[in-house]
């Protein structure tokens, strides 16, 4: 019986040591978050690892980094940054989670900003190969869904497409379906003659006071015009967002989404 106890003690010591290492890894994450906004090196590494065209990748990253820096210059305070290149639950402080079912590789960077007025601003970028999209998309492209608790009062969006290395503002839309709590971007966007299509966009939400919503969810679905394409199953969620400032509007949440399509 003694050896069993000894094995147990050794095992528990090993587990404790590993847990201590886990605690220590917090420092690495904190240090890392301070540099993500300027360089996005992981996204670049990801692109290089996947043999994607650097000429294409660089302007995308530059574009996003510029937007991030603009936010910082405008006085937004970075509260939280999370990065994940894996389909795992990844949570830290704000219970960010990412789930997907179909796409095996996704590079997510998500940050939470807060402006001087206490308004929250969520910036998330996906770096995701849409290999399933091998045909022109002529119908609705993306929709965002929100949890039922939300009564979104206003939605703005800007969508940029990278065509021939140039970003084009595709649409400034307010096409939120208040009944179904769906925001849809109607599109006929893809020019099959080009090799890669990228979409960068954000959604801007105003949520009126009176909702005790603690859940924001943005899901991305793809339509090919008439049929619902296979759902890539991407969900970006911020659970339990703490709305510290209860002003006229609860919060502003924005989502940046970048798609990459490689047409075969």
């Amino acid at each position: 019986m003694k050896w069993m106890t000894k094995v147990l003690i050794v095992y528990l010591l090993a587990v404790s040591t590993l847990c201590a290492i886990l605690l220590f890894s917090k420092i690495e994450l904190d240090n890392y978050s301070s540099i993500t906004f300027t360089l996005s090196p992981e996204a670049l590494t990801y692109a290089q690892d996947n043999q994607l065209n650097e000429d294409y990748i660089d302007p995308v990253l530059e574009f996003i980094s510029t937007k991030e820096l603009t936010l910082l210059e405008e006085g937004y305070e970075v509260l939280y940054t999370a990065m994940s290149t894996n389909p795992y639950l990844y949570e830290r402080n704000w219970s960010l989670y990412v789930e997907y079912s179909q796409i095996p590789d996704i590079d997510l960077q998500s940050s939470l900003f807060k402006d001087n007025n206490g308004v929250y601003y969520i910036l998330a970028q996906y770096d995701m190969p849409l290999f399933e999209l091998n045909q022109a998309i002529t119908g609705n492209f993306i929709h965002f869904g929100f949890s039922d608790e939300y009564q979104v009062s206003n939605v703005y969006s800007n969508v940029y497409f990278l065509l021939n290395d140039e970003y084009t503002l595709y649409q400034t839309a307010n096409s939120y379906d208040y009944d179904n709590k769906l925001f849809t971007m109607p599109t006929s966007i893809v020019d099959t003659s080009i090799d890669i299509v990228s979409v960068v966009g954000y959604v801007f939400l105003e949520i009126p006071v009176g909702n005790d919503a603690t859940f924001f969810e943005c899901s991305v679905d793809i339509f090919d015009g008439t049929n619902h394409k296979e759902d890539p199953g991407i969900i970006l969620g911020f659970n339990k967002i703490v709305f510290a400032e209860r002003e006229e509007y609860y919060s502003v949440a924005a989502t940046w989404i970048k798609y990459r399509k490689e047409i075969s």
Binding site: M1, M4, T5, V7, L8, Y11, L12, A14, V15, S16, L18, C19, A20, I21, L22, L23, S25, K26, E28, L29, Y32, E42, T45, Y46, D49, M83, S84, T85, N86, Y88, E91, R92, N93, S95, D105
Partner: protein, 195 residues
């Protein structure tokens, strides 16, 4: 998906068949046959456990290295697979030990060596092993949750699993059986000495 479902159904049917056979053997008090049958069963489970463990580890390693981990994720997340692997090694080691002891115990029963001190030892060892598995399960879960909460944040969650309670209940029952066995052997030996 259909194949997995069919395999699961087949497994359930086989297990049900095993239970029915064991019940029939017990009902007819055929201890030797019962022991022989269970001994074979334990050996199969032993082989499957070892095979399943190595296969699982192999697949986990492949998944880990083919998943495109960034340097950041490797630094912080590498601990999790190591931690979980360690727990698995610990559990599987004890499962193997338990099955080896069970095999010996059944071997004794098969040759009608019932009231023997070895059987008490094996039963006690198996009971203790289950209790140690319980302690390991509880402590590991607690440590991981504390570390996760402290490093990642969010809400502190303490989850329980039925496996944990199963370990505890089986452990206690076996220790009680072992104690009963010990007393029975004493009475048996006294009877043997009585003229």
């Amino acid at each position: 998906m259909v194949i997995i479902l069919a395999l699961l159904i087949a497994l359930v049917i086989v297990l049900l068949g095993l239970v029915i056979k064991v019940l029939i053997l017990m009902h007819h008090n055929r201890i030797e046959e019962f022991s022989t049958f269970l001994q074979k069963f334990v050996k199969i489970i032993l082989v499957l456990t070892i095979f399943g463990y190595f296969l699982g580890q192999f697949l986990a390693i492949i998944a880990y290295f083919s998943d495109g981990y960034s340097a950041l994720m490797q630094s912080s997340r590498a601990v999790y697979p190591v931690l979980l692997s360690l727990r698995l090694v610990f559990e599987v080691s004890f499962y193997i030990a338990i099955m080896l002891w069970a095999d010996k115990l059944l071997g004794n029963l098969k040759i009608n060596k019932i009231f023997h001190i070895d059987n008490t030892k094996y039963t006690k060892k198996i009971g203790m092993a289950f209790l140690i598995l319980f302690v390991a399960e509880v402590t590991t879960g607690l440590l991981i949750n504390i570390a996760h909460f402290a490093s990642v944040g969010g809400t502190f969650e303490l989850t329980t699993s039925p496996k944990m309670f199963m370990y505890l209940i089986i452990g206690f029952i076996l220790l009680i059986v072992s104690s009963l066995f010990e007393n029975s052997i004493k009475i048996y030996e006294e009877n043997q000495l009585t003229i």
